[in-house]
Subunit: 164 residues, 2 copies
DNA sequence: GACGTTGGGACAGCCATATTGACGTATCTA
DNA sequence: TAGATACGTCAATATGGCTGTCCCAACGTC
């Protein structure tokens, strides 16, 4: 168990207990956030994979399939099934790209948008309660650390979501 | 899309963009942290489920099966397979409980402990880089917000990990 | 215009991880 | 002794990933 960087020369916050605390809180925090919408999803007969697609399409309408693939980091096959489900339930619709007609531009139908908003409401409750409880000063730190977990090569892809 | 609490009366950090940013960063941060150990796990022929069990047993030796079930929030069935795999590879060993002989006390073998340490090393690199980049002041906020995501009813279970 | 590349879709089959419900046994506790 | 608890295990099922292969339409370029 001798971890080199647990030496007394490291800053306190880089020692093993602080790292483990971060790992555990990230695990439990993520788990509870995602479980917050499981009930509503299963009522709709959808799973978490469907929600992730729904979420990002809501976030960035006219997203292309390949952009969505990059965000989700899954294979074309896996996304295909999810997207077919969502299209079959008329939650998502596809248009041919304008500048590049090979592309499929994805967006939510009115129904899909309503569902995403309902699911987001559950997330909002969870997250805003956590923000409020932690206090405004904590939120910036929360963002900062999480950004540090994202490899630089992907940070711009994620940041692209905030432009819309 | 009209979210009631997006009204101008809410603090800035409770409005939709700030909530979405948190949701997304939590998703990407968690994803990248867990992917950091996938390669090493698949070399061992193990999956993430095995790592989670390994992690918590390392964290709290002589954990009982039911305590582990609470932490992982999965069914006995699912845990059973994982635990059998780990025992079959001599990474985990079980002893009969002392005060209550119905219990099985779980702990890592020397080999299991070495593997967990190796996997933790990858997590440590990821998380400590994020901590260092964000700065010491951010870490407290990071913890605060994540704690707020955990229901009160479970906070003591999670906090119990820090006693050891 | 031919050719290579790219965006998207689909086939088949497989694997990991979770679920439910039922049942059995050993052990603890009142 | 009776009931509750801790653990293990049966069978069946669902979800969401994966690989490998193949295909087509559209784009870009020489």
């Amino acid at each position: 168990m001798a971890v080199p960087t647990s030496s007394s020369a490291s800053p306190l916050f880089l020692r093993e207990p602080e790292i483990r605390r971060g790992v555990e809180l990230l695990y439990f925090g993520y788990s509870h956030m995602t479980r917050a919408i499981d009930d509503e999803l299963s009522v709709q007969g959808l799973g978490r994979a469907h929600h992730r697609a729904l979420y990002f399409i809501a976030r960035q309408p006219d997203l292309t399939v390949s952009e969505l693939l990059r965000l989700l980091a899954i294979t074309k096959q896996s996304l295909g099934r999810v997207l077919n489900d969502l299209a079959g339930r008329a939650l998502v619709e596809q248009r041919t790209g304008t500048s590049d007609r090979r592309q499929r531009l994805l967006r939510l139908t009115a129904e899909g948008s309503a569902l995403e908003a309902r699911l987001f409401e559950s997330l909002r409750e969870k997250v805003s309660a956590a923000y409020a409880q932690a206090g405004q000063g904590s939120v910036a730190g929360f963002w900062q650390v999480l950004e540090g977990l994202i490899p630089e090569s992907e940070r711009d892809v994620v940041a692209g979501l905030r432009k819309s």
